[in-house]
Subunit: 336 residues, 2 copies
């Protein structure tokens, strides 16, 4: 039987949570390398909350995925055929592979990765866009200083868990919010957070009052009520890093804006958004730092690996249900 290329394509723009009918699972022939191209087999695909935004029409920091197109995703792949100098059969690469089993590439925006440095999934986690997002977000936008109090929402998620660990490495006091006792215990016991708040069983505002001096930096992945609760607790010259708003991505009505935003005036504070791509020239600096922390055991990369490219539609929903622990990754089971 000829090899096939299972692809997940966007069939419709979702309203609220994506459902099965927003996707088309299609089987196509495996592409052949043309001159100046390679063809690679996808091994792991990164699943990210930001994907929900890519599925919407309209202006954002990146163009929407077109209806009918293969869903955009970062992934790690192994080259199986090459007519492109510098890319050899057997090389491992990171790039926008899309949610599919095979793809052809002209090598643009493709980075080689070395599986001797770290397990391949880690290049989608702490040593991937997730880690870079955490690194530049907390260090450059958050501009943390030793001794400051840092609060992270979505702290057991891919970005949040790395943000908290980087802040600890920089001698900050770190408090994470996450859903459920198990995640909270993991943050404190395994990742070294100073405290964790289970937003499902605790009142976030009340628990944060235990931060005796207030909050210097809030790194927000969640938005909505979480952001609003933290704003009045900022210290003077506090910083709010806007990384995401996962609580709002599947809204069918308007986003909940932070009604406490005038706290920015009271606290002479700022709220700032960023996109990791802007830091591309400094990725080597971040990889070197993060690689060092992983090597000496100060930074742990937690990944949750699910099976089967064709299962993407249902696995993606785990992100919005709090069903993931660290970086959510889909394995192309057929490739192993």
């Amino acid at each position: 039987m000829a090899e096939e290329n299972i692809q997940v394509r966007l069939a419709a723009r979702p309203v609220g949570l994506p459902t099965e009918k927003d996707w088309e699972i299609r089987t196509e022939p495996v592409p052949q390398a043309q001159d100046g191209e390679f063809v690679a087999e996808v091994l792991y695909v990164s699943l990210d909350p930001a994907m929900r935004g890519w599925m919407n029409a309209g202006r954002s920091y990146i163009a929407p995925v077109e209806i009918g197109a293969v869903m955009r995703a970062g992934g790690v792949a192994r080259i199986r055929e090459s007519k492109l100098a510098g890319f050899e059969v057997g090389d491992h690469v990171y790039c926008l592979t899309g949610v599919q089993q095979f793809f052809a590439s002209d090598g643009k925006d493709v980075q080689k990765v070395d599986p001797n440095i770290a397990p391949l999934p880690t290049f989608l986690g702490a040593l991937g866009m997730t880690g870079l997002t955490a690194y530049f977000g907390i260090l450059d936008v958050g501009a943390i200083k030793a001794g400051e109090t840092v609060v992270v929402s979505g702290a057991a998620g891919a970005v949040g868990s790395v943000v908290g660990q980087i802040a600890r490495i920089h001698d900050c006091r770190v408090v994470g919010s996450a859903g459920g006792k198990e995640k909270c215990e993991y943050l404190v016991d395994e990742l070294g957070f100073d405290a964790a708040i289970d937003y499902k069983s605790e009142d976030l505002g009340k628990s944060l009052r235990d931060c005796p001096k207030g909050i210097d930096v809030f790194f927000d992945n969640v938005g909505g009520d979480t952001l609003n609760t933290v704003l009045p607790m900022l210290r003077m010259h506090g910083r709010v890093v806007i990384c995401g708003a996962i609580s709002q991505y599947n809204n069918t009505g308007p986003v909940t804006g932070p009604s406490n935003y005038m706290s920015l005036l009271v606290s002479r504070a700022r709220m700032e958004g960023f996109v990791v791509f802007d830091y591309a020239k400094r990725y080597p600096e971040a990889f070197a730092a993060m690689g060092g922390w992983i090597a000496d055991g100060r930074l742990k990369s937690q990944e949750q690996i699910e099976e089967g490219i064709e299962n993407f539609p249902s696995v993606l929903l785990k992100l919005f249900e709090g069903g993931n622990f660290g970086k959510l990754i889909l394995r192309n089971t057929a490739a192993f």
Copy 2:
């Protein structure tokens, strides 16, 4: 008949717009100077949107006015009796006089003003806290650069009108929003704004689309829908200066938070609050610059002077009805 000291005291915390019953007009004896004090007669009192916030209980950038206390206000006064070295009878001073005709002071936080430099009301306008707020807000927090597009809300108000002129002096393209044709014509014809939008008769969002390259800096005095409309129009690395939110000060329900706040991420933009008091050490720099611009005609100070300390409760409401043109000032008619 003995001289009397008419005072306006806070009688109750208002719900929504302040009403007559939130105030007590009281007549007390004129104070006598004790050793180490002077007594001054108030000439002009500054009326500011921020006063509405001072009337509420709860944490803010300044303590609330206590129930029963004389309403806090900045003012210009003339010393009539002094037992304090360095303060002579006839000297003019700026300080927190309160809304009353006479007050005693130990000289703390009192600045002398020279009526030969500018008319006394100007020390409550462009050469007062209003001008300082505009100066540090647009130059330090907004960090404007020549050629940038600056949008100011509440542009015909005390702070907004000065912000726009300072931005023009720094070679920015300046667009103001204000209520009514007369105010808009004034902004363009008299103050040199590049354009003005009458939010009462125009759709702010549609009109702002005429800013061909988007908005680099938004200086916000208004909040609510105005802020929300501008956020998606920010250019890359845009700045939103949070100075006030006059549309929200008299809400009886929650403040309207900006549901478009995730535009900060799309545009890698920041939204930042400030309080002018933090710049106290640099007031001399600002006074020198503003004084120079006034002297050479590039900065106009527009004041609207109303009569009678006892009329404070009704005159204050003009701020929230858009009934003022430039800086709203109350004259202690009895002193002239």
